[in-house]
Assembly symmetry: C2
Homo-oligomer: 438 residues x 2
């Protein structure tokens, strides 16, 4: 029930598995979430979950959507319930270009591939580009679901630092230069430029042309993952990297956060020849995306005030961000955190000596949940951080969750003071970026 599938322990049960000797090498990179069992507890209603990435869709005009869906099926059911094309419905692809225009992209529907959520687009991009041992450069920290995909394709992730303005251009340049000097092949830069998951920061407008220029100079494709770009609280959307370099970027978009995730509709916008291969890979993977889902989204976009809905989402999430930040300031003065201008997450640094992963079971016992920072690094660092999401709980619950978290942190600090700890592992972090490692 979240957007965070994999974290890190081997799949259970292999010892009892008659086929344990038959699996492909890539399955060694497929790992179950170490916190999955814990989260099945954390899903109990008495726990305040600041862990998940579930959007709050309670505000959708459900009765209208139900009526429009009835009309769609009654009038065009034989099309909606049939197979469609591998690339996706032309009408929806046209509408998707209108959505992307809000972030400065002047895209052609021919270059759009509709996917089963943008996660499938991520998987397809990895599938067509990554050989085992290839390098993906990704922010430190990076989206856990993307790290899982890269691991499943046996790629090495090399992190590159961010600060409050997102990716640090000089550091990226240095990372790519070093990789080239080592003869290692960076296939692409994976980046979430807006309202980063988990870091909560946004790549500044000034840096965008520089990032594009650096990637171009190094001959590295940019994989721009942008599920939250239209969910900025205070200002207009920034131009997508894809708007600055259409031939150098594969752009991933999604309706999961701006409308609803239950249809599983996302998309990729790609340079034409890359698009060809994405379509082939998608046909091999699923034949075609759901026509019913696609026509439902198309109907929503053409019959509802979707821009108004996004505006109301922005207001709701802004209130929750405010509740989160106010509660952190009140209850966790020894921590530091990012203050996001949009999206779902803040990235919190614990006081020295505390380990977010070690602390999680005690937090769940205290009826609050979060995601430890280690989930967002390919190399096990990040234990001094956690991701806190404010998208799903009400402001009151957020405040209560932070209050409970503060109790856990405070008890943990007492333990550290009394006994010391060696659990907290340092890592490259937003506020203290270190050298990149594979």
């Amino acid at each position: 029930m979240s957007d965070d599938p994999q974290v890190s322990t081997p799949a259970a049960g292999t010892r009892l598995d008659p086929w344990h000797g038959s699996y492909a090498a890539r399955t060694r990179g497929m790992r179950a979430s170490e916190i999955r069992a814990l989260f099945s507890v954390a899903n109990r209603p008495e726990v305040v979950s600041l862990a998940g990435g579930m959007p709050n869709i309670a505000g959708l005009p459900m009765d209208r959507i139900a009526e429009e869906t009835q009309r769609l099926l009654a009038e065009r059911g034989a099309v909606a319930l049939q197979y469609g094309s591998g690339q996706g419905e032309p009408g929806l692809r046209e509408q998707i270009t209108e959505v992307m225009a809000l972030e400065g992209m002047n895209a052609h529907p021919d270059d759009v591939v509709v996917t089963t959520g943008s996660q499938q687009a991520l998987d397809l991009v990895a599938r067509i580009f990554l050989d085992p041992g290839d390098v993906v450069v990704a922010e430190a920290p990076s989206y856990v679901g993307a790290l899982g995909v890269f691991r499943a394709y046996e790629a090495d992730v090399v992190h590159t630092p961010m600060d409050a303005d997102g990716l640090v251009p000089d550091a990226l340049d240095a990372t790519l230069t070093r990789l080239a000097a080592e003869g290692r092949r960076a296939k692409f830069l994976y980046t979430v430029p807006n309202f980063h998951n988990p870091a909560g920061v946004t790549l500044s407008a000034e840096r965008r042309p520089r990032i594009v220029e650096i990637a171009r100079r190094h001959g590295v494709l940019i994989l721009e993952d942008n599920p939250y770009g239209l969910l900025g609280f205070d200002s207009d959307p920034l131009p997508a990297l894809a708007s600055l370099a259409p031939e150098g970027v594969v752009y991933l978009g999604s309706f999961s956060k701006t409308f609803a995730p239950g249809y599983r509709v996302g998309w990729a916008l790609a340079p034409h020849a890359v698009r060809d291969r994405l379509v082939l890979a998608s046909e091999s993977s699923i034949l075609c995306p759901s026509m019913m889902s696609q026509l439902s989204i198309a109907t929503y976009l053409s019959t509802s005030d979707w821009r108004g809905q996004i505006k109301s989402y922005r207001q709701m999430y802004a209130e929750r961000r405010d509740a989160m930040v106010a509660a952190l300031a009140e209850h966790l003065p020894d921590c530091t955190w990012t203050t996001p201008d949009g999206g779902f997450y803040t990235w919190l640094r614990l006081p020295d000596g505390l380990d977010a992963r070690e602390m999680l079971p005690r937090a769940v016992t205290a009826l609050v949940a979060y995601v430890p920072g280690t989930a967002f690094y390919a190399d096990g660092s990040g234990a001094d951080h956690m991701r806190l999401s404010y998208c799903y709980p009400t402001p009151e619950r957020i405040t209560e969750g932070v209050r409970r978290l503060a109790g856990v942190v405070s008890a943990e600090q007492e333990l550290v003071t009394m006994f010391g700890t060696s659990d907290a592992r340092g890592g490259r972090t937003l506020d203290a970026p270190g050298p990149e490692q594979p």
Copy 2:
């Protein structure tokens, strides 16, 4: 607009592709259909297409489905439009076990993984088992969409012959023995036991325990792909291979042919440890299947007479099979073909010297389309065969299509008589199985 995504020419446009040097090795196995351009012509209404695998869903009670879907969204919209679990909705998995019980399987919902069509299940099984160079044993001929998946994972397909009773047990035993002697690793046997696509034959009840025994003796998993099993025309469903050896079979099912393909809902039933890995692979690939699609299917199963609908599908397809077979007998006496007891397809052998692939453009000019047999072999053989589908056109159109096809065949035979031909390439076929090759 069909279930047959890939046949065989390299993706176009790579010469103009700035990223052409960046693709993964596996993309060499991803090929666009050589007949795709032709089929965009063949989709014109004046062409009788005996090519596609689109089910005819015109008989569905669309108004009722529309009403039930409206109720679903109005009453449970906040669940239907939200993320779900990676494995799929527990309620739907329970219902799926009831569907599988019709073919003798006594499955537990815990061992079911819901997928984006059974094509995704096929992709996930390949993903967790196939390393480059591994062998998949498959019928000769075999489903084109599966061959595409195996190619995308850089596996070698070794065909093993069928006759009118499906897979030939002794030949399978010999194939597996030979592979073992050569030190080649067969990861699984891929089989479509019921109403085979494209061959139209069914594995007899007597042979089923033997096939299971042979696979077990060789330590080879069976991948049982069964989209058509409930669409038999004359008799009750045969027991699934999975019912005979639950620990030795990964079973794939689908609602695309028994209900409708537009939701993209299929499933895998797998031994428990394999199921664990399928879920991890699916989460990495799409996070979770569409809740809206899953709850729509669950609603259909619980509010409609789905067994009655399947019965009416069977009657409709049986009439179309009759029309196909009668037209073939009348118009193509020099050909031979299989007479399917269910499903969508017959497999036709051309008179000596004719090449179905060479002939296709002339057939499309004569306003009839089919799929050349070469699509269903990994090694380029099969040119003397074609797949004819009777699922989508009306009986009258089927008759007219076969009449047109007969004109094309007859003209082709005259050319062969006058000039001879070297185009027709022999191949291992149902009626003349030859030695297996990689």
